[in-house]
């Protein structure tokens, strides 16, 4: 049985007297201990999908569909049960740790508060455990770090503190929303390695939200690619990147410059990514798609659990070599 099952998820926010759809018809499952990457560009609805799992949707948002976590329907939970879910079962790592860690409380307060409040640990024990956790995320001098304040730590160190705070509660699922986007490349590699290793050791599942298909492919078992609020392709990571079935996935893979070779011109996807409410009635990607036929503009292709493209069976698309 899967740990998290999202089915038919749709999310709309009110704007100037009308509903703007940001996410629609999203189906996604995550098994216990499994890592799934949710990949997309800005406006694709990837972050909204992840936030909906925790009930962290924008004020006034209209959410429909079903989100079942460990047998319980999340969308019908009350405030108290949602808090319990966030406190113990599902941990969240945000892109910008500085915006999510109280700047006037010490690192020690940040790390131990949840352990004391949610796990009922005595303060002294929580502090000792915090030092051990910091060591696991590669921060050696934990006792000193606990006395420091967020402004005294670099972004990379602070993100590791945030990972430690999530690991402290031993959640079943980690939602990581662009956890390394604000970090330097060498720090990104290190932070992702730490997250990957510790998550596996503890058997925690992860939903990684990122714009970086390569990063997701390197750290996740399965990938789901989102475009204009919908999942357009969802498959095992290796086969998705080697032989994509959706023209958008192929386009994303080919438009990234490469280290190994220099081409005179990069293959580009023309136009810009659109949000769900901006999309035309047919396939949302059709206006940018090199393989689109007239029929593609008529009806939204149905996502069959693998791909949402009416031409996928007849196309042979290029993946990464």
């Amino acid at each position: 049985m899967s740990l998290l099952t999202i089915s038919g998820l749709a999310l709309a926010v009110p704007s100037a007297g009308e509903w703007r759809t940001l996410v629609e018809e999203v189906d996604l499952t995550i098994g216990a201990g499994e890592a799934v990457g949710l990949v997309g560009e800005s406006g694709s609805g990837k972050s909204m999908t992840a936030r909906a799992v925790l009930g962290l949707t924008p004020p006034g948002a209209r959410v429909s569909g079903s989100i079942v976590f460990d047998g319980a329907e999340v969308t019908s939970l009350g405030a108290k049960e949602l808090r319990a879910l966030r406190a113990r079962r599902i941990g969240m790592i945000f892109q910008d740790p500085r915006a999510h860690i109280n700047p006037v409380r010490s690192v020690g307060d940040f790390l131990t508060e949840a352990m004391v409040a949610n796990l009922g640990l005595p303060a002294r024990e929580a502090a000792a455990r915090a030092v051990r956790l910091l060591a696991e995320v590669g921060i050696g001098d934990g006792a000193r770090r606990l006395r420091q304040y967020p402004h005294e730590l670099s972004g990379g160190l602070l993100q590791r503190v945030m990972i430690a705070s999530v690991l402290a509660l031993e959640p079943d699922l980690i939602l990581a929303d662009e956890p390394t986007t604000a970090l330097d490349v060498t720090t990104q590699s290190e932070v992702m390695a730490i997250l990957d290793e510790l998550r596996r050791e503890r058997g925690m599942a992860m939903l990684l939200i990122t714009h970086d298909l390569e990063l997701a492919a390197a750290t996740c078992d399965r990938l789901a690619v989102m475009y204009a609020g919908r999942i357009v392709e969802a498959r095992e990571a290796g086969s998705l990147t080697a032989a994509p079935l959706h023209p958008y996935t192929s386009g994303l893979l080919l438009s990234r410059p490469r280290l190994e070779e220099t081409v005179h011109r990069l293959l580009v996807i023309p136009g810009r990514p659109v949000a769900a409410f901006e999309a035309d009635p047919g396939c949302a990607f059709a206006p940018r798609c090199a393989h689109a036929l007239a029929a593609c503009g008529e009806a939204r292709p149905v996502f069959d659990g693998t791909v949402a493209c009416t031409r996928s069976a007849e196309l042979t698309l290029q993946g990464e070599s």
């Binding site: 060498t186 390569e214 390197a218 438009s255 410059p257 490469r258 280290l259 011109r265 990069l266 580009v268």
Partner: protein, 260 residues
Amino acid sequence: MTVIQAERLRKVYGEAVAVEEVSFTVEEGESLAIVGESGSGKTTVARMLLGLETPTSGTITVCGRPRAAGRVSSKERRRRAREIQIVFQDPYSSLDKLQRIGDVIATSLSLHFTLTPAELRRRTLELLESVGLAERHAAMLPKQLSGGQRQRVAIARAIAVEPRVLVLDEAVAALDVSIQAQILNLLADLRAPGGMSYVFISHDLAVVNQISDSAIVMHRGAVVERGPTADLLREPQEDYTRALLAAVPRPGWKPSRRGT
């Protein structure tokens, strides 16, 4: 011809040394990448090239003319602006939110050229077109454009004055992958005819591989390695360059903890 000659640049803020003994040259039509992570001093170097920061010591020569420190006349500032222009990382903060897109370009043009209103309008539209925008965008405000479109406006504004050197400070870092590819192609197209030189500042080695002929790698304010980009990426000599390369996600890559 050498368009930029930077010699032994050093910049100190209080106790902190931001840039130490950095020297490089940029030839006409060349694209030089300055590679580094946050705190490497790469942006400080860019700002010194533009005259936005004064070097603590060292010299900068642009188009054969030494950049003297201190206040300069508005005539000299305009002359310098024709020599070197910059595109910043964040297209959301580098445009005046109350200025229409057409006026952004026209202001830049009329400051440097004597044009009739008809010529000004024609040239403005030409420039917008050259960066892939249309006439209808001229009447829009920045907030009506996407991030990629705004960055195109910033590029159009910079190339409007036909500079000899264009400095691009992480100019594609904040863009979506599909838009980033469009802007990189645009930069390749713009470079070909005019012989404009680029100083391309970036942390992204794949992007650097695509856009530059030669590169210098900066770490903690100093240059640790330099050479033709292809050689640097295929056969890095320094540990730091190797670490940077190893950290780039690509097919078959796995993240790793440093030193393990």
